[in-house]
């Protein structure tokens, strides 16, 4: 292990898997050396493996994700980088129509990983800040992960590459260089479909993922000084959802807030809230609450973007409301 960033952990996972398995190759816009990608995630990968396994693609997501479908059917394991998660829409058919359905329909396995740099708070405006994960959770046949720590960024990418299904891997741009720690190494996969208790607590549960995990733990640390003990559940995988960990936590605390940076309307939080209301009805001492982005395009100007997305402050306010019941 060495010190580094969340971004370094993603690069390290690519290096590890490409060393381990020569079926793995990286493809995307501007990913090859010496440029190494818009965020430089693939720079060390391109330096080690060269152009045959780190392949620049033209600006045609629909076409090159479709080509990845063909490569995966023929036994390769492409790791596709879409430069920003916002650009996934350009490649939508190749993901949701072909890749997601092939195995159910006729047994064709499409084992690729689509790396999608997502989320905002970087003052990047409507087309470089989106969190489109709900589209893919709503699509049968795709797995969806959203790591929020260096260990998960590394370990979930290992698992995603080894999975025999198409996996959409949402990486958090606001954490890329801001989140520092030990960069994992070696064979340390994190299983897909298992949530993590990011912080144990007894008074209320915050269910979240991605960069919002850190907003939630910040809020929890602050609330501890007020005598409110918050448990933070980091989903880590959005499909398949680990609802057992969520409901077990709610049974313990009897109060729950679901938080994500993506639009609240019809987001992942709605599914979790509905499930909790159904399964934990008699355990609840307060209404199930949700915080999420507003139902607007992600705005650019700092006061507008701050008003758009949840934060440690709004999470803390919501926890106080919950615990007043």
């Amino acid at each position: 292990m060495s010190d580094g960033t969340y971004l370094d952990a993603i690069s390290a996972a690519l290096l590890h898997e490409m060393d381990r398995d020569d079926r793995v190759l990286v493809m995307g816009e501007d990913v090859a050396g010496p440029f190494g990608g818009a965020f430089k995630v693939t720079k060390p990968v391109a330096e080690r493996f060269g152009e045959s396994r780190v392949r620049n693609m033209p600006m045609t997501e629909l076409g090159f994700i479709g080509a990845a479908n063909g490569m995966a059917l023929m036994g390769l394991r492409p790791v596709i980088e879409v430069q920003f998660a916002d650009f996934i829409s350009t490649g939508f058919d190749s993901i949701v129509q072909f890749a997601a359905t092939a195995h159910y329909r006729w047994g064709g396995a499409v084992p690729w990983v689509l790396r999608a740099p997502a989320d905002g708070n970087l003052r990047s405006g409507p087309f470089h800040s989106q969190n489109p994960e709900a589209w893919f959770v709503h699509t049968p046949g795709l797995k969806v992960v959203a790591p929020s720590t260096l260990a998960d960024a590394y370990g979930l990418l290992l698992s995603a590459i080894r999975d025999d299904n198409p996996v959409v891997y949402f990486e958090s741009k606001p954490l890329y260089r801001a989140l520092k720690g030990s960069v994992p190494g070696g064979d340390a996969p994190v299983p897909i479909g298992v949530a993590e208790i990011a912080r144990p607590g007894s008074h209320c549960t915050v269910v979240t993922y991605g960069a919002m995990r850190h907003e939630a733990t910040t809020a929890a640390a602050h609330l501890a000084t007020e005598g409110i003990d918050v448990e933070v559940v980091d989903l880590r995988t959005l499909k398949p959802l680990d609802l057992e960990t969520v409901t077990a936590s709610v049974r313990k605390t009897s109060r729950v807030l679901v938080v994500h940076a993506a639009n609240r309307l019809a987001g992942i939080g709605a599914e979790i809230a509905a499930t909790v209301a159904d399964v934990c009805f008699t355990d609840l001492d307060a209404p199930v609450k949700r915080l999420g982005g507003l139902d607007v395009p992600v705005p650019f100007s700092p006061p507008l973007e701050d008003a758009y997305r949840p934060s440690a402050a709004t999470i803390a306010d919501s926890c106080r409301e919950l615990c007043a019941w």
């Binding site: 190759l25 045959s52 693609m57 033209p58 045609t60 629909l62 076409g63 090159f64 994700i65 479709g66 080509a67 990845a68 479908n69 063909g70 490569m71 995966a72 059917l73 023929m74 036994g75 390769l76 058919d93 190749s94 129509q97 072909f98 359905t101 092939a102 195995h103 159910y104 329909r105 006729w106 047994g107 064709g108 396995a109 499409v110 084992p111 049968p140 046949g141 999975d163 025999d164 299904n165 398949p240």
Partner: protein, 322 residues
């Protein structure tokens, strides 16, 4: 590889007969959902598929019944698939001829968004090239598919990679009810392909010899590292877009003109000119009739899928995987 005309005739006759059997099932109320016919396309699908080697792959569309048959998908499985039975290719999960994929036969199943097969075939070819395997991918699209962005994107990728892929464009004059003159500002598909950096040839899609000659040359070139080719095969869809389609938008005179150029009739004339004994042709017709009757009976008598299986096979491994 020289085309054996009797072999081609057998596959084309079988294709026509299976297609007619499907049509008959639907017209007599025995079908499930909708379906598609391919009448008029036999020379293209059979002639092209006969050019492939055993470990090549093909991504056919809904007019390419002949390609499925030539690659070894049995009429029994195809008809059971059409009727949504447990014994069909997709075991009841996909309809008509969609989703008839089977990698053990080198067949990739298509989605309704037909040009999706183009980048998939290009990607398969890129995988072959990446591993240095002497394999080729073949796919098909239509005149309608040829005006999509995905056609342009796929040709560009194929040309950049010199991918060993052959793309057959079946110009059957209509995208559903819209004639090519109304959907393509430049109806010269070969010229548009060349503009993207891919070699292209125009052929008579009703002449199986012409189809085989052009596709075989393209397959050989791809296998030898020469890169992709587009083969534009001129033909006519002789029935509606789908079984429900009354087809009233096609002028009778146009259909009559193409009827005279029916691919099976053209091939029979060739066989007669080559002094092939009529008995040998009729023997093939008889054998095909028996095969198709058996397949129809098999499909009709096959069990429906178990409703308990509805969630099975979503995932390639893990829960739900068989």
């Amino acid at each position: 590889m020289e085309l054996d005309l009797l072999v081609a005739y057998r596959w084309m006759r079988l294709t026509r007969a299976v297609d007619d059997a499907i049509r008959n099932l639907w017209l007599t109320g025995q079908g499930v959902g909708g379906t598609f016919n391919q009448r008029g396309h036999e020379a293209i699908s059979v002639g092209a598929a006969l050019c492939l080697a055993g470990d090549d792959v093909v991504a056919p569309m809904h007019r390419d019944l002949g390609a499925y048959l030539v690659r070894g998908m049995s009429p029994r499985r195809l008809l059971a698939h059409q009727l949504g039975r447990a014994t069909g290719v997709s075991r009841g999960r996909d309809a008509n001829i969609h989703g008839c994929g089977d990698l053990s036969l080198g067949i990739i199943g298509f989605v309704s968004h037909l040009p999706q097969s183009l980048p998939v075939a290009v990607g398969a070819a890129m995988a072959f090239r990446h591993r240095g395997e002497p394999r080729v991918a073949l796919t098909f699209t239509g005149d309608g598919g040829s005006i999509t962005g995905l056609f342009t994107e796929s040709l560009n990728l194929a040309a950049l990679d010199r991918a060993p892929v052959v793309i057959v464009v079946e110009n059957n004059q209509y995208a559903y009810s819209t004639p090519i003159a109304e959907h393509s500002a430049n109806p010269d598909i070969a010229a548009r392909s060349r503009a993207m950096g891919v070699d292209a040839v125009d052929i008579d899609g009703n002449d199986v010899i012409a189809v085989h000659r052009a596709v075989q040359a393209a397959v050989n070139r791809a296998r030898d590292g020469g890169g992709p080719t587009v083969v534009v095969a001129e033909t006519m869809r002789m029935l509606g877009h789908a079984i429900h389609d009354g087809f009233e938008y096609v002028p009778d005179a146009l259909l009559e003109r193409w009827h005279e150029r029916d691919p099976l009739t053209l091939l029979e004339n060739r066989l007669a000119a080559a002094e092939t004994e009529t008995d040998r042709i009729r023997a093939i017709d008889d054998e095909v009739g028996v095969v198709v009757d058996d397949a129809v009976a098999f499909a009709r008598d096959s069990p429906w899928p178990d409703p308990g299986e509805v969630t099975a096979r979503v995932w390639a491994t893990g829960p739900g995987h068989e």
